[in-house]
């Protein structure tokens, strides 16, 4: 029985999340990668080193369109292989492609899974983190999008590569991408993958200097509450929360963030949470492993200097 791993795109070296997905595929057995844009040789070799030797991609590169061509590719692979599982990361593009293929193959879909066991029972964090659920697909093929760390699997041994198998699809394009512009992130790690995230909220009053300085000394990413993003203090791509990014770093520092339900939904699974806020009644303190009632413009710079001093 095969396991399909859907990647929107892959390049070498594989990211941590991509290696994790490959390991999950090897764990559940018969991993086959389906890649939404045609991968180069180095990417195919990297997948083989991570235990995935078989790679399928569209005969015509579908990356100029949104979701339809990629989903048709995935659907063709599902019909060919009849996998038990189709796995992907829980990003927006992957979720859309799996949703289309699940609907067209009349298959169950479980998104944003935080734990998937060998009986294929999927654990989810629901209701903005206030609830949890266990569910299981009841169709022959089940589509699942995974949060980081959802499958506890050893990295697989390398296998020989079989190159890329081209798959003919219907060639429907749907919505086309007429322009694309990369977003700058100032040399900091990607928010969704960062080990450390330092976020600023209303309490920064628009000044992110202390937030950025602590993020940089910790090698982390900068995040923001919805208030901070809506005020234009930082770009919306840095917004953490229900309608922004969901992050699960080892360390999350919330500075001047009150902790609205919608923000907590995006960060409550962080390993360690530190909150700095002048309001001792701020809801963020209920979630914090360490809460500091104080001014972020005092506490953060002092911490940044202290970290630099100890490392010197």
């Amino acid at each position: 029985m095969s396991t399909i791993l859907y990647f929107d795109s892959v390049s070498a070296p594989l990211s941590g999340a991509e290696r994790e997905l490959a390991a999950a595929g090897a764990h559940f057995g018969g991993p086959v990668a389906v890649v939404g844009s045609v991968p180069d040789d180095a990417a195919v070799a990297a997948l083989a080193r991570a235990g995935v030797g078989r790679v399928l991609a569209a005969a015509q590169d579908p990356s100029g369109s949104l979701a339809i061509a990629q989903a048709d590719l995935l659907l063709a692979a599902v019909r060919e292989l009849s996998p038990r599982l189709v796995l992907a990361a829980s990003g927006a593009r992957e979720t859309e492609v799996l949703a289309r293929a699940a609907a067209l193959s009349e298959s169950g879909l479980i998104t944003s899974v935080v734990g998937l066991d060998d009986e294929l029972t999927a654990a989810k964090s629901v209701l903005a983190g206030a609830g949890r659920s266990l569910s299981r697909g009841v169709t022959a093929t089940v589509f699942v999008t995974l949060k980081p760390g959802a499958v506890k699997a050893q990295e697989a041994e390398a296998v020989p590569t079989q190159g890329v198998e081209p798959v003919e699809t219907a060639g429907r394009s749907g919505a086309v991408i007429t322009s694309r512009t990369a977003r700058a992130r100032g040399g900091r790690p990607e928010l969704g993958e960062a080990r450390v995230v330092v976020s600023g909220g209303r309490g920064t009053d628009g000044d992110f200097t202390a937030v950025e300085a602590l993020a940089d000394v910790l090698g982390g990413a900068v995040g923001a509450s919805r208030v901070a993003a809506d005020n234009g203090w930082v770009g919306h791509e840095l917004q953490v929360g229900q309608t922004g990014r969901t992050v699960a770093p080892e360390l999350y520092v919330a500075a001047g963030v009150s902790g609205a339900v919608q923000h907590l939904a995006g960060m409550r699974t962080a390993g360690t949470i530190v909150a700095v806020n002048t309001d001792e009644d701020a809801p963020i303190f209920e979630l914090a492993d360490l809460g500091i009632v104080g001014r972020l413009e005092d506490v953060l710079p002092q911490a940044a200097v202290e970290i630099a001093r100890r490392r010197a």
Partner: protein, 271 residues
């Protein structure tokens, strides 16, 4: 069912009746979400605003007034009512006990049948519901209809002058895309796309006279086996409150809290 060039574009907004996230939310003994204190999903207000703006920008000749559709129990009529108060011209309420407990897959079957009956040229949704939070219905529905999907639009939503082509900006994590698609199409918008309007006194009074059609499964030609738990692709085994996070400690800055913070991070090997 491609759009004919002469008739005005018909716009249908899908809305959901969800528990208000300002209050504690819980599951009942059947692993279903308790639906008291429910409202029109906040994220659907952005979809309605986008539809109203398109309709108003093109006048009545190119684009018809907006219709809203919900699938839900009797009480979900409140979500339709709120949408009519905000400016939608008419409502459709699909209500049938057999639909309760449907997953996204089964819900998308109901929506496909409803859309084929209403026959819009443009379907608009929010980025996700605020209860299930999957964000997959727009994609599933577009797939079933065989229409382009212009999803997660975060701004610059525009219908061309000939009302045939839709375009929008999509802000992704690492890049910004401009998307374009011919009608008929499915559009979903994020909470960045616009500022939803508030109903005023006049629109609240006017909403009482607006027509709402109620449909059952039979009206959509769907058999009950295709919906509800039996028609779903996923079975919920358990649902409940999340375990509480162990309480942490709170200190008051005495001038040395920054150093205390570093001590704490060092204890946990985080620096």
């Amino acid at each position: 069912m491609s759009k004919s060039s002469s008739a005005p574009v018909r716009v249908l907004v899908l809305v959901k009746y969800v528990p208000d996230s300002q209050f504690p939310r819980h599951f009942d003994a059947g692993n279903r979400l308790s639906r008291e204190e429910s409202i029109l999903s906040e994220l659907d207000e952005y979809a309605l605003e986008a539809a109203l703006a398109i309709s108003e920008a093109h006048g009545g000749e190119k684009v018809s007034p907006v219709t809203v559709l919900t699938v839900g129990p009797d009480a979900a009529a409140a979500a339709v009512k709120k949408a009519l108060q905000m400016g939608a011209a008419s409502g459709v309420h699909v209500s049938d006990e057999a639909i309760a407990g449907s997953d996204a897959l089964a819900t998308s079957r109901v929506l496909e049948a409803a859309v084929r009956r209403v026959q819009p040229d443009l379907v608009v949704t929010g980025m996700s519901s605020t209860d299930a939070e999957m964000g997959v219905i727009a994609s599933m529905l577009a797939a079933r209809l065989g229409w382009p999907q212009l999803t997660l639009a975060s701004g610059d939503v525009e219908l061309s002058d000939d009302a045939a082509t839709l375009s929008a900006r999509r802000d992704e994590d690492t890049e910004v895309l401009t998307l374009s698609a011919p009608l008929p199409a499915v559009l979903s918008v994020t909470d960045q796309a616009n500022e939803p309007r508030y109903p005023n006194f006049k629109s609240i009074l006017g909403a009482r006279k607006k027509p709402v059609e109620t449909l059952a499964l039979a009206d959509l030609g769907l058999s009950p086996e295709l919906v509800g738990p039996g028609g779903s692709g996923v079975s919920v085994l358990e649902a409940g409150d999340a375990p509480a996070r162990p309480a942490g400690r709170v200190i008051v800055d005495d001038g040395e809290a920054g150093v205390a913070l570093v001590d704490f991070l060092a204890e946990r090997n985080l620096i």
